[in-house]
């Protein structure tokens, strides 16, 4: 009788250990320099405010740019669009993509939406006040510089060109750029989607045991 109970306990401990080990290994490694980078925000889209926490449970891509950018931004948005298109509908439902304009003087949310739709309708265009964007830049360790010029002047904006991959908790877990092959980006998205579902299953079983 006691021996039987002991066996049950040992087996349970072993399976929990194995599962924990399994879960840890489904989450790809996150480079140390990305820890603590990023964080929640709320910005304006053509359909009202959008917050990062709205996408909890989904895996996302985030890119900072502006619509008067004819080289890096179209390249990055094309890579993102191609990565999304190559996924199954079920996978795409659990993925989101955000294009944040650091040039609110010229890029209204409506203009941004028309711009991103050219690449893929699923890419959401966002912007905010200079203050909000500056705070965001600090969080995401991103550099940008909008010159003091009137909106109708043909000025250019300097900006970092990272494509951030955000996990289901909204944490920055990997960086890419406009020269990343879309297949590589898609692979990374799938890997983090898988990690998210394993994590969710694990949480569900934890809930049941309590």
């Amino acid at each position: 009788m006691w021996r039987g109970a002991m066996w049950v306990v040992v087996m349970l401990a072993l399976s929990v250990g194995a599962l924990t080990c399994f879960i840890q290994h489904t989450e790809p490694d996150v480079p140390a320099y990305l820890r603590g980078m990023g964080g929640d925000f709320t910005l304006r889209s053509a359909h009202g405010p959008v917050s990062l926490h709205d996408f909890r449970g989904k895996v996302g891509l985030l890119y900072f740019g502006y619509t008067h950018c004819p080289d890096a931004c179209p390249m990055a948005l094309s890579v993102i669009a191609r990565a999304l298109r190559g996924m199954s509908a079920a996978q795409r439902d659990r993925v989101y993509a955000l294009f944040v304009s650091v040039d609110p003087k010229r890029d209204t949310p409506e203009h941004l939406q028309a711009y991103t739709a050219f690449f893929d309708r699923r890419i959401i265009g966002l912007t905010g006040t200079t203050r909000q964007l500056t705070a965001l830049a600090v969080k995401y360790r991103m550099d940008f510089e909008v010159p003091q010029a009137p909106a109708d002047a043909a000025y250019t904006v300097r900006h970092s060109r990272f494509i951030y991959l955000l996990d289901a908790e909204g944490r920055v877990v990997a960086l890419f750029d406009e020269k990343t092959p879309s297949a590589r980006l898609r692979r990374a998205l799938r890997r983090w989607l898988y990690a998210a579902s394993v994590r969710r299953m694990w949480k569900d079983t934890q809930g049941e045991r309590r």
């Binding site: 008067h68 004819p70 179209p74 390249m75 669009a81 191609r82």
Partner: protein, 137 residues
């Protein structure tokens, strides 16, 4: 006979220019219809015996055009040493077309005039390409 001489004389400048500066991989990235900027790319190969100095650029489709280095830094002049080449390529330097006069379409042709310090301007015809479906650049 006279006519032939005339034809040869007319073709001579074209031939000289083609010999001296070769243009390759010239194209314009199709921007979204709502954008009023576009990037043009080309490779300039200087076969001449002298340095080629480009002072500026004009485009028939744009109100303003200029040379941009990587990261959108304006370049005053572009210098191509004798026997050397310069690449305006995706993710690097490009010819920045601003204040587009109308939305571009895939297959359109853009005309660039590159002004040089010495000699005739270089005329280039570039096709507009829709890069959304293509993997790189």
């Amino acid at each position: 006979m006279k006519r032939w001489i005339l034809v040869v004389l007319c073709l001579l400048p074209v031939w000289v220019q083609a010999e001296e500066v070769e243009v390759r991989d010239a194209w314009v990235r199709l921007p979204p219809p709502v954008a009023d900027t576009a990037a043009a790319y080309l490779r300039l190969i200087n076969h001449g015996g002298r340095e080629l100095v480009l002072l500026g650029v004009r485009a028939n489709v744009a109100g303003e055009a200029m040379f941009h280095g990587p990261g959108m830094r304006p370049l005053g002049t572009v210098r191509i040493p004798a026997g050397g080449e310069y690449r305006f390529a995706p993710g690097a330097a490009h010819v920045m077309l601003m204040k587009l006069k109308q939305p571009l379409h895939a297959g359109d042709s853009v005309h660039l005039v590159l002004r040089r310090a010495k000699g005739k301007p270089i005329q280039v015809e570039l096709p507009v390409r829709d890069m959304r479906r293509l993997e790189r650049p």
